[in-house]
């Protein structure tokens, strides 16, 4: 049960943190269509996070932090708003700032591809709740991957500037990609998909070295959480 909880926290925290990052695009995207699409993906991931955090709490109540006496916060909020950075189980891959649109697309492509592969496999997980969450997520993640893949191609083949930015964005997110793939325990099936996107886009698979220190978070996470948790923590007994 503790193992299931840990795994659900990894999947839930990754979704929560990337959702938070993608929500930052709201009112800031290149055009209305992308604004809506990125919000939509953020919403999907937020939905996944809520189910997964609830599953983690049910599987192992010990993961839920102690709340101030009298706090009415449901477990999903206890986990999201009252854990410190060190207790989050997300990968470093999702933590950093968005960068520009190209970097956001590069990260989303890698993330959705890896997570989709993992969710496809989780469809027959021993835990029926996790299996159901994964089954529902597959459809969403397929859309996320396709959206990111279309933009990856568009930026790669668009203008000189968009290509330059895409390659820079990819180089920026790539060093943490091996950690993501490892955390989700995916392998060659993902490489096949990515290599197709790269080939069609005329982009070479980066060769950058892997970054040490994956057992800890980045400096970005505590800043993200400081903002995200500020209202909830200012009103520990608040009802929302």
């Amino acid at each position: 049960a503790a193992e299931l909880a840990t795994y659900c926290l990894l999947l839930g925290d990754d979704a929560l943190v990337l959702s938070q990052r993608l929500a930052e695009w709201s009112s800031n995207a290149p055009d209305l269509e992308e604004d809506i699409a990125l919000s939509n993906i953020a919403l999907d991931l937020l939905g996944q996070a809520r189910l997964l955090l609830a599953r983690a709490a049910a599987a192992d109540p010990a993961v839920v932090p102690a709340l101030p006496e009298g706090s009415p916060a449901p477990v999903e909020d206890a986990l999201a708003f009252f854990r410190d950075a060190a207790d989050f189980r997300c990968t470093r891959f999702v933590e950093g700032p968005n960068g520009d649109f190209a970097q956001t697309i590069a990260r989303l492509l890698l993330f959705a591809t890896v997570r989709l592969a993992a969710f496809e496999r989780l469809g027959d997980h021993a835990d029926p709740v996790l299996a159901a969450i994964a089954a529902k997520g597959v459809k969403e993640l397929t859309y996320h991957r396709d959206f990111a893949g279309r933009w990856f191609l568009t930026l790669a083949q668009g203008t000189e500037e968009s290509r330059r930015r895409l390659l820079a964005g990819l180089a920026q997110v790539w060093p943490l990609y091996p950690e993501l793939a490892e955390a989700y325990d995916v392998g060659p099936e993902v490489d096949v998909v990515l290599d197709q996107v790269f080939a069609v886009s005329g982009v070479e698979r980066p060769e950058a070295g892997r970054r040490v220190g994956g057992e800890h978070h980045t400096e970005a996470l505590s800043r993200l959480l400081a903002e995200m948790q500020s209202v909830a923590r200012a009103h520990p007994l608040g009802v929302w």
């Binding site: 709201s26 009112s27 992308e34 809506i36 809520r50 930026l155 968009s162 608040g238 009802v239």
Partner: protein, 310 residues
Amino acid sequence: MTTLQEQFDATVAHSDRIEPRDWMPEGYRKTLVRQIAQHAHSEIIGMQPEGNWLTRAPSLRRKAILLAKVQDEAGHGLYLYSACETLGVSRLELTEMLLAGAQKYSSIFNYPTLSYADVGTIGWLVDGAAICNQVPLCRTSYGPYGRAMVRICKEESFHQRQGYELLTTMMRGTDEQRAMVQESVDRFWWPALMMFGPPDADSPNTVQSMEWGIKRNTNDDLRQRFVDMSVPQAEALGVTLPDPALRWNDERGHHDFGEPDWEEFMAVVKGNGPCNAQRIAHRRRAHDDGAWVREAALAFAERSAEESRA
């Protein structure tokens, strides 16, 4: 044989719809473009004050609701820009007019959001006022605009209920939360009343717009309707509306209420509201930062089209 003008007048008189291919007077077209564009810009600029709390929503449920709502506003902007495009003005042109200050947006969005209660208050009062303004527009004479309004009004009233529900939930919470709600209502009440525009006596375009069927009610009518609607809601909520002159007038069958600060209104319209500069700078930054993406998409589409022809 009837003239084009007579056909147009008849259509409007029968409350039928004018459609994009129909003949229309140039003044009608211009007024519509101005009004629809202002409405579209309001949706887009209106994403900012609420979006300010997206990353800080205090529960995941509220975060999902707010994210969906702000997304809906982008969607409304999209329909309305499309409606405007049927009149021959592109979204890009409209955006450039917004950024150059040549077109306006609702002055309410030049007020800051200072606490999470503002998310609820905007839903309740600002969306509430918008609905009062917009429901009659579902019957507006221009087809694409009227149909966009039908869809928008449906979503707006959903948003209004969600905002009100947030406030009722907070009122059941801690003393600090109740104080937050009251403080938020104190800040937004008067600006919400200003959303209906200046008093009828100072609103010279109203008569023509009503003749054209673009506008269906006067500013003061709508404002009265909004006050009458809001007073019992405020009571149910347990907040005090910050107007000592507010009381039921049995004779009129309406509430009497105080005069908004029209000097403040004019200052905000002229650009000196708390957030005018910030809102436009935000929009301009997003627009400029996105230019290379829009160019890339265009270049890619052109290349793909060429290749499929080849």
